[in-house]
Amino acid sequence: MKLAVCLLVLTTGAAQAQMLLKIPDSFSKLAEKAEEVVDVTLDPAMLGLASKFLSDKDADEKAAKKVVSGLKGIYVKSYTFAKEGEYSDADVELLRAQLRGPGWSCIVNVRSKKDRENAQVCFFSQNGTVAGLAIVASEPKELTIVNIAGFIDKEHLGLLEGQFGIPKIHTEDKQKKDDKD
């Protein structure tokens, strides 16, 4: 029994580690070059506080509570550079390589040739449910990494976009814009 519990803890721990993107050590150099680095951390303790304090009576708070209650962490890191070319494709590849690991599947790839903007949205699956999400969005002067750990209801994904420091992807707008061009 003890062995089974230990194995369960280890397996859960390993999955938790896999769903959290590791910011490569080389990114500390990017931070030095960046004009601005925004780091948003909503860890399990903070999300726990949020779901504890948010009211069930207020409609907005209730909706927020529903979104937040299944989550184990929201991490956003955004680098803004003064000029183009401060980060390379190789830097972004260090992140994308992690998204090719076990459990991850990338279902949205947005590429805008005109604006040179790329966004990749990937889900981490565990036991048939979505247990994590990652977004890597790159623009010539900006690089944003979003990582959400925890159960994410597909209905709530739209609610998260533009909230908690998570950027709006505007996939439909971009597609239409590219189609026009």
């Binding site: 948003v40 903070m46 948010l54 708070e61 909230q163």
Partner: protein, 173 residues
């Protein structure tokens, strides 16, 4: 002195001289740590205590428990921004969570937003440092206000950190 003013004076003294609460102790700990780190004393803000009474009474935007300290005439090296961040975090202790950090090394600016749940309310402490000045603000927020702020923490950090001076920030959706 007319005796009819006595209750009002006692009430005023009670507010001003009340023992420091846990949140105030945290705030004072941060201020003390920053003073030690920067080697300067906080700038005296005339009639701040009086202003705080009005904040307490009127609660603009529902804010409570405003605490404010500023430090001026600094000569702060951008290399030491990491030290500032660590000193604030250490002074606050484990019960506070680091929610947002905005670091602009080029502009020698750092903003840290820390949060703590306390009795069904949230206390939020914002510490900023620029090349020549630093500010520490602490306020108490209701859960709904906190959520409003939480909905866009980067904008919150950028507003406090001065990003709103830059194009593209803080446009309303």
């Amino acid at each position: 002195m007319r005796i009819r003013f006595l209750p009002a004076i006692l009430l005023l003294l009670g507010v001003i001289c009340r023992p420091a609460s846990g949140a105030e102790r945290d705030f004072q700990a941060v201020v003390g740590a920053i003073e030690g780190h920067l080697g300067v004393h906080r700038t005296h803000i005339p009639i701040l205590g009086f202003a705080k009474l009005f904040v307490k009474a009127s609660t603009p935007s529902g804010l409570h428990g405003l605490e404010l300290a500023t430090f001026e005439d600094l000569r702060y090296s951008p290399d030491r921004i990491g030290d500032f961040r660590n000193i604030v975090s250490a002074a606050l202790g484990d019960s506070w969570h680091t929610m947002v950090q905005v670091q602009a090394a080029g502009r020698r600016e750092y903003t840290g937003i820390f949060i703590k749940g306390q009795g069904g309310q949230f206390r939020m402490l914002i510490a900023t440092i620029e090349a020549q000045e630093a500010t520490v603000v602490e306020v108490q927020l209701s859960p709904s206000q906190w959520f409003d702020w939480l909905s866009n923490p980067a904008r919150m950090g950028q507003r406090v950190g001065g990003k709103n001076r830059h194009e593209g920030c803080c446009e309303e959706e």
